[in-house]
């Protein structure tokens, strides 16, 4: 087995976006463009799949967002010739927290993520465009995302690619060096860093996830292969504890045929 082949992955993902968007009757995609790596890659893929004229990048800064986020997002949009829409979320978020002035930064971060979701889904209706999510496999597996916030989308084109693979896609697609080099951050508060918050680098995290998830090795096997036991257990626990975020809400089973139990159809039913 060779190395990850970004050209082949791009070929599949572009077709995935094009087919899954158009066959349900849409031509356009809308995504949050943060200035970071993941949304830059999704913007590239969506522009290739649907055309730049059908791709809308929405810039949604909060007053504490890094000013470079806006300029980097604009850089990607200019590179691709996609349309951009600027929606400041500061007044909406601040209006909400007048009611809860003591809310901590996690609550504030979640509300920002969900405010952006609200904007994207409103524009989705206004533009007749599907929301293209930017979550990757690493953050989905460890639950590093806000449910019904940045995780809310019609599809996750990067949902089967680890962060380190997304970096390879970015290089292959020609995402500007400046965006590829900056440290990953959710940019929900000043100085936030994915790797500091997770307590692990993406290289190590992805390597562990590949062993646990893709290769189905046990924690014990990883320890035998030289990984630190506490670290592996912590990652495995993150995956387990965040599983609820990857599932639809629980529904009781009390009738003869129940949603989430034995009423089974694919989303692409009839298309």
């Amino acid at each position: 087995m060779g190395a990850f082949n970004p050209a082949l992955a791009v070929e599949l993902l572009v077709r995935f976006i094009r087919e899954e968007v158009t066959k349900v009757g849409f031509q356009r995609g809308v995504l949050g463009l943060s200035g970071g790596l993941d949304s830059a890659v999704v913007a590239h893929l969506t522009a290739r799949a649907l055309g730049p004229e059908n791709t809308y990048g929405v810039l949604m800064p909060y007053r504490t967002s890094d000013p470079a986020s806006i300029s980097d997002a604009q850089l990607v949009a200019d590179q691709l010739g996609i349309r951009t829409i600027l929606v400041e979320i500061t007044p909406m978020v601040d209006a909400y927290f007048e009611r809860f002035p003591d809310a901590d930064r996690v609550r504030r971060g979640n509300v920002m993520a969900r405010m952006r979701m609200l904007v994207l889904y409103d524009l989705s209706a206004a533009l007749r465009a599907l929301v293209i999510g930017t979550s990757n496999k690493t953050e989905l597996l460890v639950g590093y995302g806000t449910i019904y916030g940045d995780m809310a989308a019609a599809m996750w084109p990067l949902g089967d690619l680890y962060k380190t693979e997304v970096r390879q896609l970015a290089e292959y697609l020609g995402v500007p060096e400046r965006i590829r080099q900056k440290p990953p951050t959710a940019d929900l508060w000043v100085g936030q860093s994915d790797e500091e918050e997770l307590g692990i680098t993406y290289e190590v995290l992805d390597a562990i996830l590949v062993e646990l998830v893709d290769r189905r090795l046990t924690v014990e096997a990883l320890v035998r292969n030289g990984y630190e036991e506490a670290l592996v257990r912590r990652v495995a626990e993150m995956v387990r504890r965040s599983h609820f975020k990857r599932r639809t809400p629980l529904c009781p089973k009390i009738s003869s045929r129940s949603i989430g139990h034995d009423f089974r159809y694919k989303r692409d039913w009839g298309s």
Partner: protein, 294 residues
């Protein structure tokens, strides 16, 4: 005997039999214009693959189905044989993943998928019943055998059809694409190349592999349909991932040539195989010679 086979590498719509029928009829007309004597469609070409609870809704009673009648009529009108896939419901209301061979307006043969993958990304065994008969059959174009996708991953299926005299093996497939670590091709496509060529070469017969394309809920079907000659050489290959209708020529004399060079089928030891299989079977199920029936 030489004739032309069309590979109908299509993208069925999930659960919409009438739209898929219209697509079949359009492809048949086009292939007939290209001189096809036989058009081979993918697995579940009339229904799409991830049917789940749609299975009973799309199931056909082959003898009464108007959809099948339309295809029978098309085979007569265009003077072209057809192999296509659908869900078949039996008299006792079991549902099968079936491949149907039609010639000059009549159903000549039905193959019910033997091995229903129910693991990983597959869940066929939950909704469908497995077939339990495997036979080669005679057509106006030669003796054929049909397999459906997973069937071909069991070498015994190919072995049995070859022993039963199949000259042309049709494999109708809905093979998902996976693995982005190859030089140019998906891992799953390379795997199918290996087994189709190996089957053709080991049994000196033609392999006609037709895989669908398109996405269903994020899973991609990777195409790569191909006709492989009895020396293991591709006669015509469809692209990965794109819809295509391609024709290739088959010459049954090539089978004679291949079997002259490599008389492996002549040298096959059915008696040996049966003897050893009986022993293995008896041991596996703890049968004594007095249990009878083996």
């Amino acid at each position: 005997m030489r004739f032309t086979i069309a590979l109908a590498q299509i993208r069925p719509v999930l659960g919409d039999v009438l739209r898929n029928l219209a697509q079949h009829l359009e492809v048949i007309a086009r292939a007939a214009k290209q001189g096809a004597d036989l058009v081979v469609f993918p697995e579940l070409s009339l229904t799409g693959y991830y049917l789940e609870d749609l299975v009973p809704d799309v199931a056909l009673e082959l003898a009464r189905s108007e959809v099948v009648a339309a295809l029978r009529e098309a085979s007569a009108t265009h003077h072209v044989d057809l192999a296509f896939g659908g869900v078949e419901v039996s008299e006792d209301f079991r549902f099968f993943n079936s491949a149907i061979y039609v010639s000059q307006g009549e159903i000549i043969h039905v193959h019910r998928k033997l091995y229903l993958p129910t693991y990983g990304m597959f869940d066929e065994g939950r909704y469908l019943a497995p077939g339990d008969i495997l036979r080669a059959f005679d057509t106006r174009l030669g003796r054929m055998g049909m397999l459906i996708c997973e069937d071909m991953w069991h070498p015994s299926s190919v072995y049995l059809l070859a022993q039963d005299g199949a000259q042309i093996l049709l494999c109708l497939s809905a093979g998902p694409g996976r693995g982005v670590r190859g030089e140019t091709k998906l891992g799953s496509v390379e795997a199918w190349e290996t087994i189709t060529r190996a089957a053709a070469q080991a049994y000196m017969l033609y392999v006609v592999y037709v895989n669908r394309v398109g996405f269903e809920d994020g899973a991609v079907f990777s195409g790569g349909s191909v006709i492989v000659d009895p020396f293991g050489r591709p006669v015509v290959s469809a692209p990965m991932l794109d819809e295509a209708v391609l024709v290739g020529e088959v010459d049954l004399q090539e089978i004679r040539r291949a079997r002259t060079f490599y008389p492996l089928l002549r040298d096959e030891r059915l008696d040996l195989v049966l003897r050893e299989l009986r022993r293995i079977y008896a041991q596996r199920y703890h049968l004594s010679p007095y249990d009878g029936g083996f």
